[in-house]
Amino acid sequence: MTLTEKIISLYPELNVLDFIKPDRTIVLQNDGAGDYIAKWEHPTFPRPTDEELA
C-alpha cells in the first residue's frame, strides 16, 4: 500500500486531489529515497503517526 493509500484509508474523506491541488494543506514528497509527508497543515485531520503509517 502506498503512502497516499495509507493516508486515505485513515481519512476516507480525503482523496488524491487533496495532495495535488494548488491550495493543498498536505504535501507528500519523494526526493529519491521514498515517499514521505513534507507538510501537514490540514485544518481538521491530525498528522498520522509513524505507527499508523507503518
Binding site: 502506498t2 503512502l3 497516499t4 488524491v16 486531489l17 487533496d18 495532495f19 495535488i20 491541488k21 494548488p22 504535501v27 507528500l28 514528497q29 519523494n30 526526493d31 529519491g32 515517499d35 513534507a38
Partner: protein, 190 residues
C-alpha cells in the same frame, strides 16, 4: 568622443585620451567596444553557466506525491553545475538570473490531473504547468519555464512532478527525443 585603448599590428598598444569620460577598447582598427558606465561583472562565455540534460529511463511514482524527476543524461554542462547522477539538480556557481526550461514527461492509467513544478533549495518555487483530462496510457509532456535568481553558491533547482492516476510512469524508456528535459543558462549576472 572617447578615450580609446587599441591593440594594433603595427604599434602594439596605443591609446588616445579625451575628457569625455567614455572608455572604448579596440582589437585592430574599427572594432570598438564601449565600456558601460555601470558597476557589474563582465559576462563572457567562460563565466556564464549553461546546461541541458534529459531523462529517458522510466520509473514508477506514487499518485499524489511530489516526486523528483530524474535527468540521467547531459547534453552539455559548461561549468559542471548539474548533477546527473545523484540529485538531478542544478547548482550554478555564478550569481545571477537564470533562464530555466523543463519538461516532465509521464504516462498513467486513468490520469486525472498532473503538475510539473520547479523546486528551489528543496521547496516548491513555482507550479510551472498543469494539465487535466489526459488520455489514459498515453505519454504526455508538461513544459514550463521561468527566470530564477540564484546566489551562485548554495542555491539549487530541481524538477518535481505530481500525477493523479494509477500505474504512473515518469520519463519514456530509450528515446532521446521524447524526454523529460531540464536546461538553463545565465541570462544576467547579479
Amino acid at each position: 568622443m572617447a578615450s580609446i585603448i587599441t591593440a594594433t599590428v603595427a604599434s602594439g598598444l596605443t591609446q588616445s585620451a579625451d575628457n569625455s569620460g567614455v572608455l572604448q577598447l579596440a582589437s585592430g582598427t574599427g572594432n570598438l567596444v564601449t565600456v558601460p558606465s555601470v558597476t557589474g561583472t563582465a559576462m563572457v562565455s567562460g563565466n556564464m553557466p549553461a546546461f541541458s540534460a534529459f531523462g529517458n529511463v522510466s520509473y514508477s511514482i506514487t499518485t499524489g506525491v511530489d516526486t523528483k524527476v530524474r535527468f540521467e543524461t547531459e547534453r552539455f554542462d559548461t561549468a559542471n553545475c548539474f548533477d546527473s547522477t545523484t540529485n538531478y539538480r542544478f547548482t550554478p556557481n555564478v550569481a545571477g538570473y537564470y533562464q530555466i526550461n523543463y519538461i516532465g514527461r509521464f504516462q498513467a492509467t486513468s490520469p486525472t490531473i498532473a503538475y510539473v513544478m520547479l523546486y528551489k533549495n528543496g521547496s516548491m518555487y513555482i507550479v510551472g504547468n498543469q494539465i487535466m483530462g489526459i488520455a489514459s496510457g498515453t505519454n504526455f509532456d508538461l513544459p514550463a519555464s521561468d527566470l530564477v535568481y540564484m546566489n551562485g553558491t548554495t542555491d539549487y533547482l530541481e524538477v518535481y512532478i505530481n500525477v493523479g492516476g494509477t500505474s504512473i510512469l515518469v520519463n519514456d524508456n530509450g528515446t532521446t527525443t521524447f524526454v523529460s528535459s531540464f536546461s538553463g543558462y545565465l541570462a544576467r549576472a547579479a
